[in-house]
Structures are given as structure tokens and as C-alpha cells.
């Protein structure tokens, strides 16, 4: 059976380094299979977070050959196995141990986003009527599995560590799902411009590139939100018209 080398980052919050592990590989294996094999045969203490092995739980996020990917969805047949396969934890978040990172910052950010605020019910029984076309647009955003690969690849967080001032692509998708919902009446544009820092995004589209659910994050969520922020704060004609309408 052929063998391949996996260069895995081992360490914790105090530091670490890459270790080489050579293991047998077979047809149909994904990176997570190889990591589990190494864990079983050579490094019992190797820490790795995983759950569904089907690309739906978003647990096994890591950087494979430098690109953020789900380990369970990355086939070995798609990688050049004649060279070592590098597996590192996500760089945007603090390392807990080996491939496991502390992504709890994301949950804190989510709590700061204004929740869904529907308009009054359309019918006496407390229900609403929504046109299919209106709700279709936000369905794409609901595919998100919160793997945080988009947060990991975003250079605003990864390179510049602006976690205090920038919510990141995942939460622009989340906000877009709420803000564009046909029933929602909340206004989150001030938050987007202010504490969520959407202006930091410089549209590199890296988030779209790495999304395992193929959500068109930049074009369908971030840019439409940027345009709504322009409507509200930067377009003088819009502001004038708003002023005239409100008397």
C-alpha cells in the first residue's frame, strides 16, 4: 500500500512546531481519515476536533497545504502526495492543542447582532404571508455550517487581528440573512458600519473561495450590505431624498 507524509502542527497556546508522520494511504481516503490513522497508530495524544465526517457539522476545519478546508471533505486524491501534506490549525483563532482551536470568540460576536424582528402578523391567527421569491434570496445564507473557514481565511482577522473591530464574513452572512429577510424590520446598518466594521472588508473574495457550502459570501452578502450602508451613510442624494420624504 502506498505511503504519504503528513506534516502536522503539534503544540498549544505556548507554541509548537510541525511533525512529520508517514502513514499508508488508500483509495477514497480523506485527510481526516489519515489524521485518525496517525492518531491510532503513531500519536495517540494528537488532538483533532471532528464530528459528522460528512461536511455538515463544521468541526474539522483546518489548513491543508495552506488553505482553510474541512479535513473530512478533502480527498487525498486531490492532493500532491509526492510531497508532505501540511495540516495546521486555523491561524485566526487561539490554539488550544494541536489541530484544535478556540473558536468561542465567534459565538460572542453572534450575540452582539440584533436578532430577527418580524413585522406584525399578517393574519389574525398570528401568521405571516411571504412571497417565495422574497425569501429565496436568504435561503443561501442558511446553508452556513459555521465551520469558520471564512473567518480563518479573512486577512482582516488572520493577519491584522482586528477581532475587536470586525465581525468577519460569517457574521456578515448571518446579518444579511436577517437584514434581507422579507419580514424583518430591524435596522442593523449602523452596527455594520460601526462595531461590526464592514468597511474593513476589501473584497478579496477569499471567504467565498473557501466556503465548503459554496455560499457566494462576497457578492451576495457582503457587497449588498456594503451598498445598504452606502445608502444610509455615504450617498448624499439618498440622504437628501430621505430628508425630504420625512419632511
Amino acid at each position: 500500500m502506498p505511503k504519504a507524509t503528513f506534516r502536522i502542527w503539534r503544540g498549544d497556546a505556548s507554541g509548537g512546531k510541525l511533525h512529520d508522520y508517514v502513514t499508508e494511504v488508500s483509495e477514497g481516503m480523506v485527510v481526516l481519515d489519515a489524521v485518525h490513522q496517525i492518531q491510532a497508530e503513531q500519536a495517540n495524544d494528537l488532538a483533532v476536533r471532528w464530528n459528522c465526517k460528512a461536511g455538515k457539522c463544521g468541526s474539522c476545519s483546518a489548513e491543508i497545504n495552506g488553505m482553510p478546508r474541512l479535513m473530512c471533505m478533502t480527498r487525498l486524491s486531490d492532493l500532491p502526495l509526492e510531497e508532505p501534506v501540511t495540516i495546521e490549525p486555523m491561524r485566526s483563532f487561539p490554539s488550544l492543542r494541536d489541530l484544535v482551536t478556540d473558536v468561542s470568540w465567534n459565538f460572542g460576536v453572534k450575540k452582539t447582532i440584533r436578532p430577527f424582528g418580524p413585522r406584525p402578523a399578517d393574519a389574525p391567527d398570528g401568521t405571516w404571508r411571504i412571497a417565495e421569491g422574497d425569501v429565496d434570496r436568504v435561503q443561501e445564507f442558511r446553508k452556513c455550517i459555521e465551520c469558520f473557514l471564512c473567518q480563518d481565511v479573512c486577512h482582516v482577522l488572520r493577519e491584522h487581528h482586528l477581532h475587536e473591530e470586525f465581525a468577519g464574513p460569517r457574521f456578515f452572512v448571518y446579518t444579511a440573512a436577517l437584514e434581507m429577510h422579507p419580514l424583518d424590520t430591524e435596522n442593523r446598518l449602523g452596527d455594520l458600519r460601526g462595531p461590526q466594521g464592514i468597511g474593513y472588508c476589501n473584497i478579496t473574495k477569499c471567504c467565498t473561495k473557501v466556503c465548503p457550502e459554496s455560499i457566494t459570501i462576497t457578492d451576495n452578502a457582503i457587497i449588498p450590505l456594503k451598498e445598504r450602508v452606502v445608502d444610509e451613510f455615504y450617498d448624499p442624494i439618498r440622504r437628501l431624498l430621505r430628508g425630504l420624504r420625512s419632511g
Binding site: W9, D12, A13, S14, G15, G16, E63, N65, G66, M67, P68, P80, E83, T86, E88, P89, R91, S92, P94, S95, T101, W105, G108, T112, A131, E132, G133, D134, V153, H155, V156, R158, E159, H160, L162, H163, E164, H181, P182, R193, G197, G199, Y200, C201, N202, I203, T204, K205, C206, K209, T218, D219, I223, P224, E227, R228, V230, D231, Y234, D235
Partner: protein, 267 residues
């Protein structure tokens, strides 16, 4: 939103564990955009060889002032300062240039290729400081929709140029007759590609319906939103094809005007 720094350490400029040719795309953008900017600057400052028969270079259209028969308001104005270089393109080229410069696609592309911010996804950057588009000067990118309004006017003018490129004047008799030359097709293709790029603009997508949550109540705008979204999905190819076509259209007219190329009449 408290946060503890990662233990993996910062990367140096260009450092990455990526194995693919991550530098290829930013390099291609750098060469493509760089070549276009250099050629456009040179061609727009020439002030000559920008028209040939019924053809007018898109870099010079609309020609507000100039010496060609396409000029709207006559020759170079007398008030133009002698010390300033003169070209009819100076009056107009800032508008399409501004439209492309503030375009969402190009922004992402040239931030990578010209400013290495980042050089490519997950590749180390040269600078630690970062302001993004929330502070001066890049906050001015929010003016994009205004450049879009101007770009639409240019599409109308260029479409009119294609119409004019269908009418050829016989040099001997002065008689005007309908015809189609290779130049007509070049200008027509250029206008179509520019229209595909302009009408797939992210700002238009927002203005036409993207900014509304209850779009189904406005069926015409809903249809338009669908059409703009379809173009928008291919905004990058439209951007590059139209960039190439506008440069080539100028080159075609220029070489015909200089007598290096001969325009073939199809009809």
C-alpha cells in the same frame, strides 16, 4: 468580543504553506491592468490618430472638443492653457476610469496585485497596519454608484458611435452610404462587452432591487434584478473582456488612421 492572539505567530511577506501557484493570478492581474493603464495613458495623451472614417476610438468618445468630424462643440477651446498638454480624451476618460477603479471586482483584484493586501489568500502581507475601506482614502470607493450613472451615459454614446460607424462617406463624391466594416464590428462588439460589464455592476444590482426586501411587489424590478444578477455572476469575465475590447478598439482605429491597417468592408 475579547480575543486572545493565535500562538502560530505572524507570517512574513509572501510566506505561506500553500503549494499551488498562488502568485500566478495576482501577477496576471498586475501585468494585465498595468499594461492597460500604460497603454491607455499613452493613447489618451496622443491627441491624434483617434478617428478613421466613421470610426471614433472609445477612449475619445464623446469628443466634446477636438479636430475630428465627431467633435460636439468644435476644435480645441481657446481658453485651454498653453502649458497643459492637450487631448480630447482628457475631458472624458476620468469617468470610465473612475468606474473601473471603484468597481467591486477590480478593487479586490488590485488590492491583491498592486498593494499585496493580501498578495493572495493566506499569504503573508508586507505591512502590519490596515485601514480597509472605512477610512480615508479608500472610504471614497463608496462613490462607485455615481460613476455607474456616468458609465451608463457612455454606453449610450458608444451605441450611437456604432450607429455612425454604419455610414461611410465616399471620399470622391462625398456621398454617404450604408455599410459594415471590420471596424464597425469591432466597435459594436466593444459596446456590447462594455454594456455587459456595466449592467452587471454590483451597485446597479442593489439599486434595481437588491436593496429591497419585498421585491415581489414590484414585478418589473424583480425581473430586472434577475437579469442584472445573471450578468453580475460573470462580472469578472465581463470586466476583463471589456477591458481588452476597449483597448483593442482604440488600437484598431489608431492603426487604421495611421494607414498601418486597412479596414475591410464586409457590406
Amino acid at each position: 468580543m475579547a480575543y486572545a492572539a493565535t500562538s502560530l505567530g505572524a507570517r512574513r511577506f509572501g510566506e505561506t504553506t500553500r503549494r499551488d501557484a498562488w502568485w500566478a493570478q495576482p501577477l496576471a492581474v498586475f501585468l494585465g491592468l498595468g499594461t492597460f493603464v500604460v497603454y491607455t495613458t499613452w493613447a489618451s495623451l496622443q491627441g491624434e490618430h483617434y478617428f478613421s472614417g466613421p470610426y471614433l476610438s472609445p477612449f475619445y468618445s464623446p469628443e466634446f472638443f477636438g479636430s475630428s468630424p465627431h467633435s460636439w462643440f468644435g476644435p480645441k477651446p481657446g481658453w485651454w492653457p498653453e502649458w497643459l498638454p492637450w487631448s480630447p480624451a482628457i475631458f472624458i476618460l476620468w469617468a470610465p476610469a473612475g468606474f473601473r477603479f471603484t468597481c467591486y471586482y477590480y478593487r479586490g483584484a488590485y488590492y491583491k496585485a498592486f498593494w499585496a493586501d493580501p498578495p493572495s489568500c493566506t499569504v503573508g502581507e508586507p505591512r502590519q497596519s490596515y485601514w480597509g475601506e472605512r477610512a480615508f482614502p479608500l472610504i471614497l470607493q463608496n462613490v462607485h454608484r455615481y460613476f455607474f450613472y456616468l458609465a451608463v451615459l457612455f454606453i449610450v454614446v458608444l451605441a450611437h458611435d456604432v450607429w455612425k460607424a454604419l455610414w461611410f462617406t465616399d471620399t470622391a463624391s462625398g456621398e454617404v452610404s450604408f455599410g459594415v466594416g471590420i471596424g464597425t464590428l469591432v466597435l459594436a462588439a466593444n459596446t456590447c462587452l462594455l454594456a455587459g460589464y456595466t449592467f452587471g455592476c454590483h451597485s446597479l444590482r442593489h439599486l434595481i432591487g437588491g436593496g429591497l426586501d419585498l421585491l415581489s411587489r414590484l414585478p418589473v424590478r424583480e425581473k430586472c434584478y434577475g437579469c442584472v444578477s445573471a450578468l453580475n455572476r460573470r462580472h469578472m469575465p465581463w470586466a476583463w473582456m471589456s477591458l481588452f475590447s476597449v483597448g483593442f478598439s482604440d488600437l484598431y482605429v489608431r492603426l487604421c488612421s495611421m494607414g498601418i491597417w486597412t479596414d475591410l468592408r464586409i457590406l
